[in-house]
Symmetry: C2
Subunit: 296 residues, 2 copies
Amino acid sequence: MSPDSQKQLVVTTDVLVDGVHFSDVTTPPHSVGWRAIAANLSDLAAMGASPLAVTVGLALDGELSVDWVEQMYQGMSSILAEHNTAIVGGDICRSSVTTVSITALGQVSPKHIIRRSTAQPGELIVVTGDHGMSRGGLELLLNPSLGTNLPQQQRDIFLSAHQYPQPRLDLLRYLWEIMETTVITGMDSSDGLGDAVLQICASSGVGAQIQLSSLSSVSMISQWFSAEQALNWVLYGGEDFELVLCLAEEKAKKLVEIVGKEAKIIGKVVEEKSVILMDGNQQKSLNLAQSFQHFS
Amino acid sequence: MSPDSQKQLVVTTDVLVDGVHFSDVTTPPHSVGWRAIAANLSDLAAMGASPLAVTVGLALDGELSVDWVEQMYQGMSSILAEHNTAIVGGDICRSSVTTVSITALGQVSPKHIIRRSTAQPGELIVVTGDHGMSRGGLELLLNPSLGTNLPQQQRDIFLSAHQYPQPRLDLLRYLWEIMETTVITGMDSSDGLGDAVLQICASSGVGAQIQLSSLSSVSMISQWFSAEQALNWVLYGGEDFELVLCLAEEKAKKLVEIVGKEAKIIGKVVEEKSVILMDGNQQKSLNLAQSFQHFS
C-alpha cells in the first residue's frame, strides 16, 4: 500500500458485537458485513478522507455456519467494491460472541481535512440526507406489529436505511471543491443528528439553532408513527451515516443544490453556547444525554 | 499521521478474546494489554517494518472494573512507549465477552520487506531467541502443581516469556543492513516455530532440515518437564514472538553473532519439499496439523 505522499493518513476503528450492534432478527449476515464497513467508511467521509484499505478482525461464535460467514464477507465485498477499496489484512478467531472489528485507512490532503472544531457563528448547518430512517427500520424489524399501515415501498425504504446505509463518500469531491475557498466543519451522524450538532458545538465553542420545520423526515415519519417517536428517531436514532456540515451561507446553499433534494439547511451556528431546537415560538434544548429537556 | 513517502505502508490486525487468548488465571490486565500490542508489533517486525501507530477496538464485559481497563491500557502504553508508538484511534463498546482488537500500521522501505516466499535451498535458518518459553509459562500458570522443583528465577523467566513477550523490532536495523546486499526470508513464530518453518517452506516451494540438537531450549526445558513436553512446546507452543529467518550462510552466521547467545542456526533450507527434524539418525516430519507424525 503506497499512500499519496502529499496526503495525510487517517485511520478509524469500529467494533460491532452480536446482540448489541446487530442480531439475527434485524440484520442478515450480508447486512452485518455491509454495515460494519459502512460505519468505517462514513468515519472517513466525515474527515474528508477517501478510503485506502480496510482490515477485518473477526471473533466468531463457533456455532455460526460457514454460510453466515461467507454472506457477511459478501456484504463487506459489495460495499467495498462500490468504493474501490480492498481488505488488506485480518484475523479470525473463535469466541462465544461474534464480534466484527474493522479498521479503515484513508487519506486526505491537509487542506481538505474536515474538523469538528472550526464552526463559526453565522454559518449554516447542512445535513446531506434524511435522519431517523435507520432507527425506523430497526424498530420495524424488532416489532413486526409496528407500522402495519405502511405502504410496502415505504417500509422497504426504512429497512434499507437500517440494513444498507450509504456512507457519503460520494460527496467528497464537492466538499473538496468548496474547501478550496472555504472552511467546512462537520462530522457524520452515526451517533445521531443531535449528537453530531452537540459535538460540533462543544468542539468549536459555539451553539446552534435548529429549525424543527426543516427536519422534513419528522413529518414524514409522523404519518405512520407518533410525533414523539418521529422526533426522537430523527434527533437521536443514529446510524443514518449522513454528514452534518457547517459552512458559510452562500456555500451552504450551493452545497444543498448540488447534493439534491435530500440535503437540507437545518439551522445556523450561533455564539450563545447552547443548542436550541426552534419549534415556532417554543424552544427545546438538546442535551448530551440524548434525551429531551423539558420545553423552556 | 504522515508516513515516509519512500516507504510502503503495511498493516496488521489481531483479535484477542477473553477465555481464548487470555484469562484471569494466566494474564493480569496489564499483561493483556502488553500482549495484544506485542503480537501486532511482532507482525510488523516479521515484515521488516517499523511501527507508525496502532488502533484499539475494545468490546468490554460490563462487569469488568474500571481498574481492569486502566491497567490494560497501561500495559498497552508501556510497550508502545518502548517503541515510540501511539494509539491513534479506537472504539469501545459493551459485550458479554471481552475482546481486544488491535490494528498496527507500519512502514518499510521496499528493499527491506521481509517475505515468506523467497527462501532458497542452501540458506541457513536462524531463530532470534528461545522457543517454548511462553507455552511453558502458560502451563505453569494453568497448573500451579507443575514445576515445583523449578528455581524461582527460572519460573519467572517462563512467566515473563508468556506475560511480557518482546517483539523483535530491536533487530530491524541489523536486518535492514544485511538486506542491503542479501535477501532475508522469514516470519515471526507467534503460531509456533514449527508453523513458521512450514509456512516459509510452503510459500517458498522448498523444504527444511532442522537439527534437534540446535533447539537448545528443548534440553533446558527437559530439566523440569518431560522431554516430550519440551519438544512439543518448543516446536508448537507459539507466542514466543521471535523471528525465524532464512539467509545465506555467511550472513546467517554474522546475524547470530550480532544478536547474541539466544540466537541460533537451527537448520538449513533444502530443495526436497518436506520439513524434517533431524535427531541423530532419526528423522521426524513436521506437519501443518501442529502435531508429530510418527518417526519414519
